[in-house]
Symmetry: C2
Subunit: 556 residues, 2 copies
């Protein structure tokens, strides 16, 4: 009879316990959780604060009693594992209820301690109006404070997933929110031009953005905080949410001299084994290989944690299941928008010195003539030699999850961008297009790969370059409505053939349209007439998203 | 200079013309269309009839003038190609406006004539109250008749894609609709148990279903039709829509002795070449290989037509692009439901003698605790030896397109069902689940493949079999609410361990839960205790969908 001890009773730990029990009715399984609850829906916390999820109990997926009844697992809440003795294969447990310390032996031990919010060492940051959001108690205290202090303004520090979800949750409580972010953009996990529509969306909801600024000091005066940023700006706030990232909980592993990885998280192999073959670790506390770069990465996400737990549960009973690396697929709702990504971002590719080609597309979420179609902006990055998909990002109000999921599957399957042309996606006017934006991305990338469509990227464009002429091929009405790039000559695409002699023969022609589609038609036409033409990928729309000033975005 | 003639100016033809022009500015391209319009959105017709698409002009994606201005293509509408002379490489064209006939020579010829509605030889079917829906004129005449005759009741013959979309469009006009279908289910392209929720949805919208019945005679009396079915039933109707399928338009190809395939459609190779290497054909008129069976198939869908057109356009100019077979991915909106499928159905697999294993899952479209989650029912069929995905079907109110698209990509990529476990799909509570139903399908299929979860299918279950006991492991409240299978013993899953001695040791235990998930837990428990247990895949919910009586379905 195998005796399995599991440290941590949420995503990874609970998955492992359930899997182990299904495989072996006789195993002795004990799950330790230092807090009061197991298996709670922490991803739902912002939505309970917002009021979208009305019922607190909906967040409690299992109780210790229900979990034991279903899986015959001895669940010990308020029991904190404080030490591991690898040599003797025992752990030391502090029972916070009985206030005793005891030991428990194991055959196999699983660490699923999660991660903890990182709180930078800021003067005055420890105060009773400042919270992070990781536990049910954190959530409850935030909700209570909003009520008892009648909060009308708040500051969120950190513009990533949790930060943005908390901004939305606070605005839903009629709170005026300031967002402070160290990077020069919100959602730093995606590239700046893809995050631009979010900046607009946040401001449209009354959020004040403080980008490229860091919180420096916090001073509390009763129910009020005075926040000073490194720019010198000061913000008065009744509530401060710290959401600048998490750090893996490695203290237990570290004390036991289990190997940590380059990222500071617990090192595990594909079987989720640590450097001690009887000790496994999963979830937000471990390091994984990035699917694309094959470099070590710390990617704390619910999906991988759950799957890793299931794998560890199997392997602790002699299985040979393997975790197959992390792509980092993620999505965030920001008011009416969703933003999602898979694989590596452009900045990560650059940082890691990985060669890439990028293309941009903008297209409707379903047939444009059917009501409710919303623009999707898509960025696709691929290897110029292998044509493999390196990363993709999408932003818009509808169909974002679907497009990134499709690309996630294609990436994992090792499909090339050429193969995206042939994907057969479900089409009826309410759901898609006969040539979906994913197929279009395949067409565009293939045209770039085989040299039939030379492109220039908006961030490569140097205005006033003497060897280039900018040709805006949109209709005059579009230029009047959206503007154009300084110095561009306007010749509508349908007039190009008749006005071909207006084009300089000795310069490179940079073709500008709204989204890059007509630009492709024009670029091909000009190339076939022996002009040196390049298409501005993603058109004027992507170029605009590269401009630092927030510009007016047309609504869906 | 290559001279390209294109017969048909909608999806396939227009795609080919645009692609050819982008590749060669100097090619001479003429596109012939026997009707008045090119490049119109025929998939939108039902939604203009319903009023969802208000603007008629929204359906006209291009005019002959706009297409010529953009692509320098000589578009000749009302010009019908009536003969091909392969030897001399000329075609004969009837200009219906000038009422003349003329010849045109070609280097390459593309046939994109589409398909025509099949009208069975029924007595009285030719009358001015009976329509099919293929052209803009068909649509306009239906809309006009609804208004002028003040239609309050109508009959649709044929319960496939067009038939169901037309049912919905008519109901949107406050018309009482009868639906006549030869098969014993609506949407015969999917399997009967997956179509069951649609039958309920249709009846909830006041539609009267006549299944397993054929229209036999039609008698018109002024503005009234008297329809007699082969069952003897008669229906009075002010309007009859015939939507029993389409037939490829092959008369031109046939006259020219181009080879037709086993399906009756034009035979083409992967380059979209017919038996005459200078003549290409694409779209609803051609036969393709089915991706799964590699058998010849006639699958008239917009996506393949568009992609085939693009490939033919390239190849007529010396390209070597290849069409990569058809998976038949399709989706249909039926009031609040969507139903979608990819690959082969169970009945097609059986008909073609392809061995398969099937599993069913029911799960929420996103995290169940976040508002708006709707049940998805998923059927996954895979090869018991290779684990490749043979087919999948899904039905529900949300997230159906996404799940079938994911499986479509996985199928095309040659992924096994085991690999579905590892897919990293975008997760936040509004969009998905940490273990998405697609991952769950991977878990279930893997458990079946490796023998750790023996299953029985609802359609294999013989009630009262002496060697089996049915064990319903749901809570008594669920049995009271939903019912159970006759003869089942109720032992809730959480009580199984304590009541193990109530179970017969010498019989096979068929485990029944609501959707198959708790059934898996119970089956594993019992197997680990050396019982012979099998899990009813898809649980009571799938079993119910196999029962012919329409049962009450709980709303989303």
């Amino acid at each position: 009879m195998t005796k399995i001890l599991i440290v941590g009773g949420v995503a990874g730990g609970a998955s492992a316990a359930a899997r182990a029990r299904r495989l072996d009715e006789h195993a002795d399984i004990i799950m330790f959780e230092k807090d009061q609850h197991i298996s709670f829906a922490n991803c739902g916390f912002p939505y309970h604060i917002s009021g979208d999820i009305e019922d607190y109990d909906a967040l409690l997926l299992q109780t210790p009693q229900s979990f034991n009844a279903r899986f015959k697992v001895d669940v010990r809440v308020n029991n904190e594992v404080i030490a591991i003795d690898k040599a003797n294969k025992t752990i030391t447990v502090k029972d916070h209820i009985k206030d005793i310390t005891y030991q428990e032996s194991y055959d196999k031990l699983l660490l699923s301690p999660g991660a903890a919010p990182f709180i930078p060492p800021i003067n005055g940051i420890k105060n009773d109006l400042t919270f992070s959001l990781r536990t049910l108690d954190d959530m409850t205290r935030i909700i209570n404070l909003i009520k008892t202090n009648n909060i009308t303004n708040a500051t969120v520090c950190g513009g990533g997933f949790i930060g943005l979800e908390m901004v939305e949750a606070l605005v839903a409580n009629n709170i005026k929110v300031s967002l402070v972010e160290l990077a020069n953009q919100v959602m730093p996990s995606v590239d700046i031009e893809m995050a631009q529509p979010l900046a607009q969306e946040l401001q449209d909801h009354g959020v004040t953005l403080y980008l490229e600024q860091a919180l420096q000091t916090v001073v509390q005066d009763n129910n009020q905080l005075f926040l000073t940023l490194d720019s010198g700006t000061t913000i008065n706030s009744q509530l401060l949410i710290m959401a600048v990232g998490v750090r893996p909980n490695t203290s237990l592993a570290d004390m036991a001299h289990l190997e940590l990885g380059e990222t500071g998280a617990i090192k595990v192999n594909a079987q989720m084994q640590t450097s001690d073959s009887d000790i496994y670790a999963v979830g937000d506390a471990v390091q994984s290989n990035h699917f694309v770069s094959q470099s070590p990465a710390h990617i704390p996400l619910a999906g991988p944690a759950n799957r890793q737990g299931r794998i560890a549960g199997e392997n602790m009973l002699g299985g040979t299941a393997q975790y197959q690396d992390t792509q980092g697929t993620a999505i965030c709702k920001v008011f009416d928008y969703a933003i999602a990504s898979v694989g590596l971002s452009e900045k990560a590719l650059k940082k890691q010195g990985i060669a890439f080609t990028k293309v941009y597309l903008h297209g409707p979420s379903h047939a444009a003539y059917y009501p409710g179609a919303c623009p999707i902006s898509l960025k696709l990055m691929f290897c110029p030699t292998s044509s493999l998909i390196l990363g993709a990002q999408a932003v818009g109000k509808d169909g974002i999850d679907k497009r990134i999921d499709i690309l996630s599957v294609a990436q994992r399957a090792g499909m090339t961008v050429e193969q995206l042309q042939h994907l057969e996606l479900s089409y009826a006017p309410p759901f898609g297009s006969a040539k979906d934006i994913i197929n279009q991305a395949g067409f565009v990338a293939t045209n770039v790969q085989n040299g039939s469509m030379p492109i220039i990227n908006a961030d490569e464009l140097v205005l006033g370059a003497p060897h280039q002429s900018l040709i805006d091929i949109r209709n005059p009405a579009e230029l009047a409505k959206f503007g154009t790039i300084a110095g561009a000559i306007n010749i509508p695409v349908n007039q190009l053939r008749d006005r071909i002699n207006e084009l300089p023969k000795d310069q490179q022609l940079v073709i500008i349209c709204q989204v890059g589609l007509r630009g492709h038609v024009a670029t091909r036409l000009l190339k076939n007439l022996n002009f040196d033409a390049v298409n501005l990928t993603g058109g004027f729309k992507t170029w605009l998203n590269y401009q630092r000033e927030v510009v007016q975005v047309t609504s869906c």
